[in-house]
């Protein structure tokens, strides 16, 4: 089983989606995350092991990314491989046989249309074992509140790319804390800093996706 987790983690970390994928060249012709996950289930391995492999692989590439040893393209390839493996888990998530660590609701704040950074955080969080509810861009306070109502106990993430839009986080956090004081809110994006997060009452800030997942893990630990 450990061997399987390690094999899947390698495929995820290196972005080996499936057998046909030519990338990475040194794994050409070998099974990818897709085939490995399917075979594992066919051989009766517990579906949890697939999640473990994905989490391990995403954690490794996420750490490399934080250390500037890997860059966004590699992170995206890893996320693609992870998605290929995770699609086999859908029925198990639905039946409750496999449980995620928690629910992460994420969106780009009102007035802002940038979404690449937010998408990356969403992917890495999914790879980290969380169910991700992506609300998209230009997300109003009401939309965040509605999502929290629909997903009790969720953690909220907000992203912004301009100083003029990051200020909208403050009002949204205030409204969230008024109605759902126990909801954890984390923020990020190019102009955001730890001191800004402290000032507006966010529970956490991270400059990168891996740090965001570390905050989520801390909360659910």
């Amino acid at each position: 089983m450990n061997e399987f987790v390690e094999q899947l983690a390698i495929c995820v970390e290196r972005g080996k989606v499936n057998k046909d994928a030519p990338y990475p060249p040194d794994l050409k012709g070998q099974d990818g995350a897709d085939e490995l996950a399917k075979k594992a289930l066919d051989q009766g391995l517990k579906p949890d092991t697939i999640l473990d492999g994905c989490i391990l692989g995403m954690d490794r590439i996420g750490t490399k990314f934080s250390e500037n040893k890997a860059f966004v393209p590699e992170l995206l390839m890893a996320a693609k491989a992870m998605t290929a493996a995770m699609q086999h888990l859908k029925p198990y998530f639905q039946s409750g046989e496999v449980k995620r660590k928690g629910t992460f609701v994420i969106g780009t704040v009102a007035g802002d249309l940038h979404d690449i950074g937010k998408n990356l955080v969403a992917m890495v969080a999914e790879g980290g074992g969380f169910e991700v509810i992506d609300l998209g861009n230009d997300v109003s306070t009401d939309k965040f509140l509605a999502a929290i109502k629909e997903h009790p106990g969720c953690i909220v993430g907000m992203s912004a790319l301009l100083t003029t839009t990051m200020v909208n986080m403050e009002g949204t956090i205030k409204a969230i804390k008024e109605q759902y004081p126990d909801t954890m809110v984390i923020i990020g994006g190019a102009p955001v800093t730890q001191s800004f997060a402290d000032k507006i009452g966010a529970d956490g800030y991270s400059p990168d996706p891996q740090g965001a997942v570390a905050l989520l893990n801390k909360k659910v630990a």
């Binding site: 972005g15 030519p22 990338y23 990475p24 060249p25 500037n68 860059f71 966004v72 393209p73 590699e74 995206l76 390839m77 996320a79 693609k80 998605t83 009102a110 007035g111 802002d112 249309l113 940038h114 979404d115 690449i116 998408n119 992917m123 301009l162 100083t163 003029t164 839009t165 909208n168 190019a190």
Partner: protein, 242 residues
């Protein structure tokens, strides 16, 4: 380059993508691979993306010239009743400007829409590369606009400063509202939202100082406090090569 005078002080420029000098190494750098050690299939995807770009870009830019430059104080200037709170860093660079050009440039919304299509279809990898190509394209287009302004000014015996943009140095992004008040409405097809976001997204705005005592430094990154930035690395690479 097609230049149209739309009022005595305003010029609109249309550029063809082919006029831009696209260096693939620049792209590697902004994607993070300043040492060239990129994933094997990156080249292939870049080629696929570059093949689509010319038909998806509509490069437009332009500028309005203001010759009445009134310094309000050490950090703000008034141009035609509009006060620009430039901050100390930009003001210092423009203190001796005899005129100021208010500039914008965009590549339109076509490429951005394609990025969205790729992303929605789950092709994040290609989508991200296309997004980076779009960002680089508008940067290169703005460089062309600056070069044009410089040529024009040289012929009058003037020099130009660097381009300074709201949101950089200590000039707040909210000042985009003032900057846009100095340009015709929807100039070059660019509009500004209440939150000071330009639409299309792949657009750049700024001002350039003009005059006999203007100076252009190698890179405005030296005025910026964002150290961990791939765009800074791109400029540093360029400066090392030249």
């Amino acid at each position: 380059m097609n230049i149209k005078k739309i009022s005595p002080n305003t010029f609109e420029i249309a550029l063809d993508y082919k006029e831009l000098v696209f260096n693939v190494w620049d792209l590697f750098t902004i994607l993070g691979y300043s040492d060239g050690a990129s994933p094997a299939h990156l080249n292939e995807t870049i080629e696929q993306v570059l093949a689509e770009v010319p038909s998806l870009c509509r490069i437009r830019g332009g500028y309005s010239l203001y010759t009445n430059v009134e310094w309000h104080n050490a950090k703000s200037v008034r141009l035609h009743h509009v006060e620009l709170a430039l901050g100390h860093i930009v003001s210092r660079q423009l203190a001796h400007a005899e005129a100021i050009a208010v500039v914008i440039c965009t590549i339109g919304a076509g490429l951005e829409a394609w990025v969205q299509t790729l992303m929605s279809a789950g092709d994040y990898f290609k989508g991200y590369i296309a997004d980076a190509v779009a960002s680089l394209t508008v940067d290169l287009a703005m460089e062309k606009m600056q070069a044009h302004v410089e040529q024009e000014q040289l012929s009058k015996g003037n020099k130009i400063s660097n381009l300074f943009s709201p949101g950089y140095c200590d000039w707040h992004v909210s000042q985009q509202q003032q900057l846009f008040a100095l340009l015709p409405m929807h100039f070059c097809g660019v509009s500004l939202t209440e939150s000071s976001l330009m639409l299309p997204i792949k657009s750049i705005s700024g001002i350039i100082g003009l005059g006999t005592d203007m100076r252009k430094v190698d890179s405005t990154c030296r005025f910026c406090d964002k150290i961990n930035c791939n765009y800074r690395r791109r400029l540093e690479n360029y400066l090392q090569e030249t």
